[in-house]
């Protein structure tokens, strides 16, 4: 009769859900995509939670699940991000990689100093440093580790030296 067939169907549905929760069977996902299937899933997990820890004997308000479900429905579809995974480790082949410093405007100020006894007197004099480029590399390397956004420069040129 239909009632018994219905019962048998449900019994086997519940048995399948029980096995799938334990990772001991596959299940057709459509079986869980019904209100009844979800109720079984929820109750069986509740039982497991409570057996393990009585402070999981929580009854969230019904509105909670409904609210979450509805909010998820209103979310846009999932889009995978475009951040590229690192595929390989390449060293050579990129030349002239130096990215000109945006904070390069100020010239180096040489500070000659001289001592009078124990006192060191600083004496600032504007002197153009001829090879400021090379010095700037050190600053860039320093900011590479310690600097803030715009101060961080790309300073190294791979492929040019020994490893």
């Amino acid at each position: 009769m239909q009632a018994r067939q219905q019962q048998e169907h449900e019994a086997s549905l519940e048995a399948s859900i029980s096995a799938w929760i334990d990772a001991e069977a596959d299940i057709r996902p459509e079986d869980l995509d019904t209100p009844y299937g979800r109720r079984v899933w929820d109750t069986y997990h509740l039982i497991g939670d409570v057996l393990r820890s009585e402070d999981l004997a929580i009854k969230p308000s019904d509105f909670l699940y409904a609210r979450i479900s509805r909010a998820i429905d209103e979310e846009p579809p999932i889009v995978a991000p475009r951040v590229p995974p690192i595929r390989r480790f390449a060293r050579a082949g990129v030349s002239g990689l130096a990215v000109a410093a945006a904070v390069a405007a100020v010239a180096w100020v040489a500070m000659p100093y001289f001592t009078t006894g124990d006192q060191v007197v600083m004496h600032a004099q504007l002197q153009a440093a001829p090879e400021a480029e090379g010095l700037y590399d050190y600053v860039a390397a320093h900011h590479d580790i310690t600097g803030v956004g715009p101060v961080r420069q790309v300073s190294f040129e791979p492929g040019g030296g020994s490893r």
Partner: protein, 344 residues
């Protein structure tokens, strides 16, 4: 120490719950107090340290997005930052709005620097952007080397109320700092490096959104990097002390990192980064070469907020630099010794 918690007499504690709360607070407080020097009777020092820690934690654990400007001398640069924490940790996107286009996409300690003009992705290890994560560590030792001061009057930055925290250096080995921390979230909205002449560097948020207003989609880079070359900076860890380098550090500074890295001209240089929690310096050591692209300058120089000192020690070049007073880099270099073990 005169901290009020130390005056608690157990008999005067109230109901057990209040008592437990006091004990809890005392336990939390004493962890901070243990690091304060004896003379730190400055009235609001523990509060100031708590605010610093709150700033540090906010920068690492909250979701936020905004645009900040970096000012040094006549240079003003704008940067956009998006920071989101999800189940995998921290995700961050930093885009330069001025100059050559460039973005840094970070996931925890791996950063990918996107260079669209070269179609290159540079992969590096870095554990956070330095703003707004202004501290290099928990900041527990800062009261030893700075006088901490909290201002009462709130200021407004980026349309938000913030509280000013000042750190005045106790010696001449470092500059001072001033932060304005968002009242609501603790995020630093403004960070200033202050020298004797005044403000040397200022970083300040112009706009800021926090929490659920931050859309994770904003983490997506501006360019499709398919087909770009991926390059990893080959950096090795080194141990300068074991090679014979004796580098005495000024009070409060500890080594953060010691690496061997390639420089732009392709030569290998050793770099040690040291910090007192806020201030930082780099010490570079390389073999002296007669010819080639190695810079020849020696002596003491300043460039904006950066002091740099360079000298030869035997067969090596030593370069010390940082956003610190000029004497600091010079003294460090002058006290450095090279005592290699004799090779049998």
């Amino acid at each position: 120490m005169n901290h009020p918690l130390h005056d608690c007499r157990p008999r005067q504690l109230l109901a057990p719950r209040a008592g437990r709360a006091l004990v809890a607070a005392a336990l939390a407080g004493s962890a901070l107090l243990a690091h304060l020097p004896a003379q730190a009777a400055e009235p609001r020092s523990p509060e100031a340290i708590q605010l610093l820690q709150r700033m540090h934690k906010a920068a690492r654990s909250l979701d936020y997005a905004g645009v900040y400007t970096y000012q040094q001398g006549n240079t003003v640069l704008s940067t956009q930052i998006v920071h989101v924490v999800d189940g995998t940790g921290e995700r961050e996107r930093v885009s330069m709005l001025d100059g050559q286009p460039r973005e840094y996409i970070r996931h925890n300690e791996i950063t990918q620097c996107l260079l669209p003009d070269h179609k290159v992705v540079l992969k590096e290890r870095r554990d956070s952007e330095r703003f707004p994560a202004v501290l290099f560590d928990e900041g527990l030792e800062l009261a030893t080397h700075y006088v901490l001061n909290l201002h009462d009057a709130a200021e407004r930055v980026a349309g938000r109320k913030c509280q000013v925290l000042e750190l005045e250096p106790r010696d001449t080995h470092r500059y001072g700092y001033r932060f304005c921390a968002d009242k609501e979230t603790g995020l630093p909205l403004r960070a200033q490096t202050v020298g004797p002449e005044g403000v040397l560097i200022q970083i300040v948020f112009n706009t800021l959104q926090v929490g659920s207003k931050v859309a994770p989609e904003a983490l997506a880079p501006a360019w499709n990097t398919k087909g770009w070359e991926v390059v990893e900076v080959p950096v090795q860890e080194v141990d300068l002390a074991s090679e014979g380098w004796r580098i005495p550090l000024p009070p409060g500074y500890r080594p953060l990192k010691q690496v061997l890295r390639p420089m732009k001209a392709g030569r290998q240089v050793k770099q040690m980064v040291v910090s007192d929690g806020l201030a930082s310096m780099s010490v570079f050591i390389e073999a002296y070469k007669e010819s080639g692209d190695q810079p020849r300058e020696a002596g003491l120089m300043r460039k904006g907020a950066v002091s740099l000192y360079r000298k030869r020690i035997g067969d090596h070049w030593l370069t010390v630099l940082g956003e610190v007073p000029a004497e600091t880099v010079r003294d460090l270099a002058d006290r450095t010794e090279y005592v290699p073990l004799a090779v049998p």
